[in-house]
Symmetry: C2
């Protein structure tokens, strides 16, 4: 009669239960701070207050945890940024929305997003390729927004969209390394700053300059 209630995670890759969600969060936090290979199943279990053997009721392997973290992080940011782009029509405003949403979403789930970015290499070849494909479609979305802004004459075209979008991803992705939630800067404020720097630059060669938007 179909799926068992026990060991649901043994059948599908999804980990839907409440305890499963907590497990993913705990693992992501450890993966971000200590690395995937540097995180021991015993440590994950300890944070959850259970024995390490008990983990294997919820998940088939340590790698499954990382895999699910990557999937969750990427589907989340893709959906959020996609939605934010759909709410704007002006090319520059679309770029600003992309930046602010990316920052808010990535920093809002810092542990999972950082694990996806940095620990992806620890996945099996097959899974790593799959996650990389997802990441590529996200980065294509970013590049498309840049290309469209160029086509509309809203941003410079002397540098190819490919490189402008790589520069943009630089600006976005490294934030996760040093940003501290609850610090003096909120994710929203950081998003605004990065959007300003990317669009306007830091130089004073123009008269508009206003950061107060």
């Amino acid at each position: 009669m179909g799926k068992k209630t026990r060991g649901a995670s043994q059948e599908t890759e999804a980990i839907p239960s409440e305890r499963g969600k907590r497990l993913l969060s705990v693992a992501a936090k450890l993966f971000r701070t200590k690395g995937y290979a540097g995180t021991k199943t015993r440590e994950i279990a300890a944070v959850l207050g259970i024995q390490k053997a008990s983990l294997y009721y919820h998940v088939r392997s340590k790698e499954d945890l990382l895999y699910n973290i990557c999937l969750e992080s990427l589907s989340r940011i893709r959906a959020d940024v996609r939605a934010s782009l759909d709410h704007e029509s002006q090319p520059i405003e679309r770029l600003r929305a992309l930046i602010k949403t990316h920052v808010a979403t990535a920093l809002g789930d810092r542990d999972k997003h950082a694990s996806m970015l940095f620990e992806l290499r620890s996945l099996s070849d097959k899974r790593r390729r799959e996650v990389l494909r997802m990441r590529d479609t996200y980065e294509d979305m970013v590049r498309d927004a840049v290309t469209q802004a160029q086509a509309a004459g809203a941003i410079r075209s002397d540098i190819p969209a490919k490189y402008l979008s790589l520069a943009l991803l630089n600006l976005l992705n490294w934030s996760i390394f040093w940003f501290k939630p609850g610090g003096e800067l909120t994710a929203q404020e950081l998003g605004k700053i990065l959007a300003t720097v990317f669009v306007e630059g830091v130089g004073l060669n123009d008269q508009l300059g206003g950061y107060s938007r």
Copy 2:
């Protein structure tokens, strides 16, 4: 009669010999691609064509390798960027020089620099703090260059130097994640692009705009 020739690395942290240099390079490459915890001493030895036990003639522990990689990477980039700043006097040109030199040096020794940035967390508390202090002095140098440019009225002051320099480090540091030596973009070209994006931004709100500098 002082130091023994054998096991020099057992006495000082420096690893000066030819074989020692090769060992550091091999370790750095593996640390960058597989992570510190994910790299096994057996793999390092295999690349060198020796047995893993033989590593311990050259180095006291696996962690020593990472530690020396961090020291080397940081002293190198600090010296290079310091020198490049000393060759320019105009605030904006100093920033451009900093960016180009940072990119050239970091990408020119991608393995060590990436290991320093990403795997630092695997060092012991004492050594990690020491390396972080070195990194902080480097980042202070970057921030000082930004602060001076603001004081000279050459760049915007509506965003604090602290955040402008964090944005700049975002732009610089993430490059090491995707840059491929021998690809379609040289480190010099990338440095030029990032300098342009940082100083001028991508928007077309000004009339100068020229990327052809």
